[in-house]
């Protein structure tokens, strides 16, 4: 990024709640890939006379999100109407929350190059989705299956200063809602969407810029990154000329991240918020909060820190493991009864060899992931060499054979009989007097003898032990 300017970004993230039914009616909210207008009723189609009744689970999931993001919970809350016209907004208003969002003043800590950074969460509120408009050849096709599906909106403070921070935040947020079963947050299904508020200021300035550019409806993190890049270029060019970029809402042209100014008339939004009279007030009790708090699980950042602190797992390995629910669950199952001292090694193997296998080889259905722990344990106990263990893992993964079978078949069992090793070492030393002499002068030369001995032992001994033995005999 141009060093002249500092990036100021705030984000609004919409997450589709994982409920069975819609926000204010009983239509099935699982609308993805269903024929148009088949998940629609008088309420979500905005027929005259239909009334909304809020979904208890959706409200609970919004509270859960707020708790996970360290928000204060509004004890007295309500729904409000946000009024505007659009063909896919059937009621002519969206039911949302205005001045009493469920969650307020929270934060999410993210990792940055300079350590942990706390991103402020302004608010977390509950609302409903609109229908879907598909534009094609001058025609717009309206499908209301998505209309009324519950959305949680998470609004951040303008705390981001780099694109990387934004990306990290979005990924953490996605992990969190998945960990807590709040949302699948599948971006390809539109279950997680982004709205960017961005401006630039001269490096060294501390006040917020006097303009803000909003870009709505960003469907993925990768497009979000492209939009940021594009806007950095666009806004800094304007600023370079001594002008101020226009405060406006810009539309996304395509997936390249390029944006365009939208007609100014559309920007003059006056949503005329007022309390939704059809829905009684909501009072969130301490009981309700503590019940939902019980549903919380260890969140990705905490988990990562615990892995590092308790097991000495390397940070990069820990990050990989916590990246998604299935991965950390498999890992935690794997190491459940494993010696603490071995876990960091298992993590290494799990995220290294094992992931590589998963990506590159076909798994035999008889393969059990516990083989990995078995192998890593043997390696740490020096009962198999690292190289042989790798081979054994591949063999087991692709053939389904047990580790025991493979070791027996291939003779991978490490020679641990020190008497046998000494015999071999003695033979090697006596048949290579020159090498012994060299090694006496220069300990590095001892590696030749170690290599010879290991070859004789067919690699099935612990190289370190062999080396130690030779060194002691050289003295």
């Amino acid at each position: 990024m141009e060093s002249n300017y500092e990036l100021i970004i705030g984000l609004e993230v919409h997450v589709q709640s994982k409920t069975k039914s819609k926000m204010f009616c009983s239509c099935d909210s699982n609308y993805f890939n269903t024929p148009p207008n088949t998940h629609v009723c008088p309420v979500c189609f905005g027929l005259p006379g239909a009334l909304p009744v809020p979904n208890r689970r959706a409200v609970e999931l919004c509270i859960k999100t707020s708790l996970a993001l360290n928000c204060e919970i509004s004890k007295d809350t309500k729904f409000d109407r946000k009024n505007y016209f659009y063909p896919d907004l059937p009621k002519g208003f969206q039911i949302s929350q205005y001045d009493k969002p469920i969650g307020l003043n929270g934060n999410l800590e993210i990792e940055t190059v300079s350590g942990l950074k706390r991103i402020g969460i302004t608010r977390v509120h509950q609302e409903e989705d609109t229908g879907k408009s598909i534009h094609n050849n001058g025609e717009t096709f309206l499908d209301f299956n998505k209309s009324g599906v519950p959305l949680i909106e998470i609004v951040s403070e303008p705390d981001f200063r780099t694109k990387e921070e934004v990306t990290t935040y979005c990924k953490r947020l996605r992990q969190i809602v998945r960990y807590l079963k709040i949302s699948n947050a599948d971006m390809e299904r539109g279950e997680m969407r982004f709205e960017l508020n961005m401006s630039l200021r001269k490096a060294g300035e501390t006040s917020l810029p006097n303009y803000k550019v909003e870009v709505k409806n960003i469907a993925s993190i990768s497009v979000l990154e492209k939009v940021i890049d594009y806007e950095i270029r666009r806004q800094s060019e304007i600023l370079d000329q001594g002008e101020t970029p226009k405060q406006e809402t810009r539309g996304l042209i395509d997936m390249t991240g390029e944006t365009t100014s939208q007609r100014s008339k559309e920007n003059e939004a006056d949503y005329r918020y007022f309390p939704e009279p059809d829905i009684p007030l909501i009072e969130i009790s301490d009981e309700m909060i503590s019940k939902i708090r019980k549903e919380l699980v260890e969140l990705p950042q905490q988990k990562k820190e615990r892995y590092i602190k308790d097991f000495g797992i390397e940070a990069s390995n820990a990050e990989t493991i916590i990246s998604d629910v299935q991965t950390y669950k498999e890992f935690e199952t794997l190491v459940k009864n494993t010696d603490k001292a071995v876990i960091f090694e298992v993590a290494k193997w799990y995220t290294g060899e094992y992931f590589a296998l998963q990506n590159n080889s076909i798994k035999n259905s008889n393969f059990s992931p516990s083989s990995l722990v078995e192998l890593v344990t043997l390696v740490t106990e020096k009962k198999i060499t690292r190289a042989n263990a790798k081979d054994a893992l591949i063999e087991s993964y692709t053939t389904g054979k047990t580790i025991e079978e493979i070791i027996k078949e291939k003779g991978y069992e490490v020679v641990s009989d020190m008497g046998q090793i000494e015999k071999v070492v003695d033979t090697i030393m006596s048949s290579n007097p020159k090498a012994v002499d060299d090694a006496r002068k220069n300990p590095n030369a001892a590696m030749f003898l170690v290599g010879q001995a290991m070859r004789e032992l067919k690699g099935q001994a612990d190289a370190q032990s062999v080396k130690d033995l030779i060194m002691s005999k050289l003295k």
Binding site: T19, S21, S26, R56, E139, T140, F141, P277, P280
Partner: protein, 96 residues
């Protein structure tokens, strides 16, 4: 206090309310809306310091359980715009 509403004000409101008005209508409404707003100015005479209206109903926390129920048949959804539907979608001219 008399509240004046200009024809321009009316046109602005009409844009917000998405209602097509003729100039003639706008003139009439400017007068009538002005009179109405002048009348409701009297609300300011009531001392409402510290008063808050919460809700028409004393009910709180009325929820539906998260159980899906059958939706309308697609043909019932589209029945009022059958001539404007294609493949189950409602079709309008483009929204841009």
């Amino acid at each position: 206090m008399k509240k004046n509403i200009t024809v321009e004000d009316v046109k602005k409101i009409a844009i917000l309310a998405h209602i097509e008005l003729t100039d003639e209508e706008a003139i009439t409404y400017a007068k009538q809306i002005g009179a109405i707003l002048t009348y409701v100015e009297k609300l300011n005479e009531v001392d409402t310091k510290g008063v808050e209206f919460k809700s028409q109903t004393d009910l709180k926390n009325v929820f539906r359980e998260d159980i899906p129920k059958p939706s309308l048949d697609q043909k019932d959804v589209l029945r009022n715009r059958l001539s404007k539907s294609k493949g189950g979608s409602l079709v309008i001219s483009s929204v841009l």
